[in-house]
């Protein structure tokens, strides 16, 4: 039974082995484990890493995509460790199950940069990420300022807001919502409609249609991501009410949220930076034995029609 298969298996092994890591002398190999390339934001993260690394010929980045599967990502981190990469960049799907492989790599002397989502404990070299709660809070504060300018609100009416949440079992959605609510606390604002649109544009459009059917007056829509805000805008446009409503989103990808701001669809979008460039820069520092901070919180920008052409405005 084995005879016809053996040469084939041998060839396959050889092909894989020769291809595994073309380790040039004097070149650092960085393993990048991405948890899910099904999301545009994460595609952008990899693109940022690739672009930053392209400026450094001494770096070679090997990308792996775990396709939203925790155990696949765990296996990929172990593969990187076994193949002897010089540094690991991990953007983990979730904290608890991915802590052991990250800690294992770190203890075996491979520096690990954890990007965007955290792992537990402190067995890693550096964490780089943005703070969803602060971004949600900034969006809330910005919304309050805009709502206060409305004629009805000036006359003493309470502002009426629709919140389209991301998948509420996910930490980013919880944090963005909590930050937004924190900023609104005590203000004359009613959240008149809330729905979980699961980060999905068609779902956001459907929920917004319902909000429009039930609520005769809506002043502002806060969506936890830009596709959600765009879906809500399309629903309002179909109802002929898009001019009465301020649309605010989060993420501000160049080809997505920033475009919506330029088109006048969104009044504002808040950047959720990928950290891809920062990760590559700090990876080089670590490899050159320079020191880096253990915790880096990325700064975020707000894009509005006034400042989008100039690259947005940094949040304080």
């Amino acid at each position: 039974m084995t005879t016809p298969r053996t040469p084939f298996a041998l060839l396959l092994t050889l092909a894989l082995a020769s291809n595994a890591f073309p380790k040039d002398a004097g070149k650092w190999v960085v393993g990048m484990s991405q948890c899910n390339l099904g999301e545009p934001w994460r595609v952008q993260m990899n693109a940022d890493v690739r672009r930053a690394a392209a400026a450094h010929p001494e770096l070679e980045v090997v990308f792996k995509d775990a396709q939203n599967d925790t155990l696949a990502q765990r296996a990929q981190i172990e593969e990187f460790v076994n193949s002897g990469v010089d540094l690991l960049i991990v953007s983990p799907k979730e904290a608890a199950p991915l802590t052991p492989p990250v800690a294992e790599a770190y203890r075996r002397g491979i520096p690990v940069i954890v990007l965007d989502r955290r792992v537990l404990g402190s067995d890693y070299t550096e964490f780089i990420g943005a703070n969803n709660r602060l971004i949600g809070k900034a969006a809330g504060a910005w919304a309050l300022r805009r709502l206060a300018e409305l004629p009805a609100v000036r006359k003493g009416a309470r502002a009426r807001v629709v919140e389209l949440q991301g998948l509420m079992t996910s930490i980013p959605a919880q944090d963005r919502g909590a930050g937004f609510h924190e900023a609104l606390k005590g203000a004359p604002v009613d959240i008149v409609y809330t729905a979980d649109m699961k980060w999905l544009e068609p779902q956001a459009r459907l929920e917004m249609e319902s909000a429009l059917a039930v609520q005769p007056r809506i002043d502002l829509v806060f969506a936890h991501n830009d596709p959600g805000a765009h879906g809500a805008y399309l629903a309002a446009q179909a109802a002929g009410r898009e001019r009465d409503i301020i649309f605010v989103g989060i993420d501000a990808l160049a080809q997505e949220g920033q475009v919506y701001v330029r088109q006048g669809v969104l009044a504002a979008t808040f950047e959720y930076p990928t950290g891809g460039r920062e990760a590559v820069e700090d990876a080089l520092k670590i490899l050159r034995h320079e020191s880096v901070e253990k915790e880096v919180t990325l700064r975020s920008r707000v894009f509005t029609p006034e400042n989008v052409a100039g690259g947005g405005e940094w949040l304080r």
């Binding site: 595609v43 409609y193 039930v214 179909a238």
Partner: protein, 328 residues
């Protein structure tokens, strides 16, 4: 009374009964009269249209005793191809639409050939197409949405105008009372109805699903009947993909994930049997409205996600139980 009983004994009557049950729930929980305004119903019909178009193709396949798991992925693939052709390459709709329909037909015929020619189980054959088409959509689009922002070689973005076809498909007609995609859905229902009830091949589809061996022995071209069913399912998926792209103003390679389950649910709640050989597209239309109204009622009442899922499960079960033929 006798007429009523005769109605209830027909599958159409039972499907209608399930729909009325959902409508009654809507009348009780009407969200401050929102349920009594036409806009709510118009929006429901728009929103369910893409699922309904997929369910038309699914019905043809289910009648042959098969299943098509690839419809959601083929929708995503076709949305990407349509957006690339008409949005990025500026092709007119008269070229882009037939090209996309051809892509859908090719995907469907490939599944159909695997089922009919190579006797692979429909579940497996269309599962393979589901995975492959999703991969193809991601490869063609580079994993990114094919949107109105087109990246230039220097990294900046050019912004493209929305093609007329997108605007026309996402418009409303008849005084803003009906969405164009709803008319597309009804057109697909009509086409499926003609195929199933007015063409010889429609009878072949039923015969194939009823008893394949007997059908083959009595001269029914079973293979070609199956090819037709899966091919048309692919074409309907392409139509749904075009409608999806027009409504989102972009081609999203992730579009349509898990839509196949909704399409199957629509067909089954309407009263089509997964065993094949029975059913019809009228049932699918009623099933689409039942599912659409259920989602709409939960949405206008702003029911929380956790309760929504539990209620949806319970109501689907209740609707199907209501449809069961009474035990004499």
């Amino acid at each position: 009374m006798r007429t009523l009983r005769r109605w209830i004994e027909r599958p159409e009557g039972r499907a209608l009964f399930a729909l009325l049950f959902i409508l009654a729930i809507g009348c009780v929980f009407n969200a401050h009269d929102a349920f009594f305004r036409w806009g709510t119903h118009r929006d429901m019909l728009r929103q369910v249209s893409v699922y309904g178009i997929l369910a038309c193709g699914m019905t043809l396949v289910i009648v042959t005793g098969g299943i098509d798991l690839s419809v959601g992925s083929v929708l995503g693939l076709c949305a990407v191809v349509f957006a690339q052709l008409s949005l990025h390459r500026g092709q007119p709709a008269v070229l882009a639409v037939p090209a996309v329909l051809a892509v859908g037909a090719a995907a469907g015929l490939a599944s159909g050939a695997a089922v009919a020619r190579f006797r692979i189980q429909p579940f497996i054959a269309t599962l393979a197409m589901m995975v492959f088409a999703r991969g193809l959509a991601k490869w063609l689009s580079g994993g990114e949405k094919v949107s109105r922002a087109l990246q230039q070689p220097d990294g900046s973005f050019a912004y493209l105008d929305l093609p007329g076809a997108f605007e026309r498909l996402d418009a409303k007609v008849w005084g803003g009372n009906v969405a164009v995609v709803t008319l597309v859905f009804l057109g697909c229902v009509a086409l499926s109805w003609v195929v199933l009830t007015r063409l010889r091949y429609g009878r072949y589809l039923y015969a194939t699903g009823g008893n394949e061996e007997a059908a083959r022995l009595s001269g029914v071209p079973v293979r070609r009947a199956k090819l037709l069913a899966y091919g048309l399912s692919g074409v309907f998926s392409a139509v749904a993909g075009i409608c999806q792209a027009a409504q989102e103003q972009q081609g999203d390679p992730e579009a349509g994930v898990s839509y196949e389950l909704t399409a199957i649910a629509i067909a089954v709640i309407g009263g089509n049997s997964l065993a094949g050989g029975r059913g019809g597209v009228g049932l699918t239309l009623l099933g689409a409205m039942t599912i659409g109204y259920l989602e709409k009622i939960l949405s206008i009442n702003a029911v929380a996600e956790s309760s929504r899922l539990m209620l949806t499960g319970a109501i689907i079960l209740a609707a199907v139980l209501l449809q069961r033929r009474r035990v004499a």
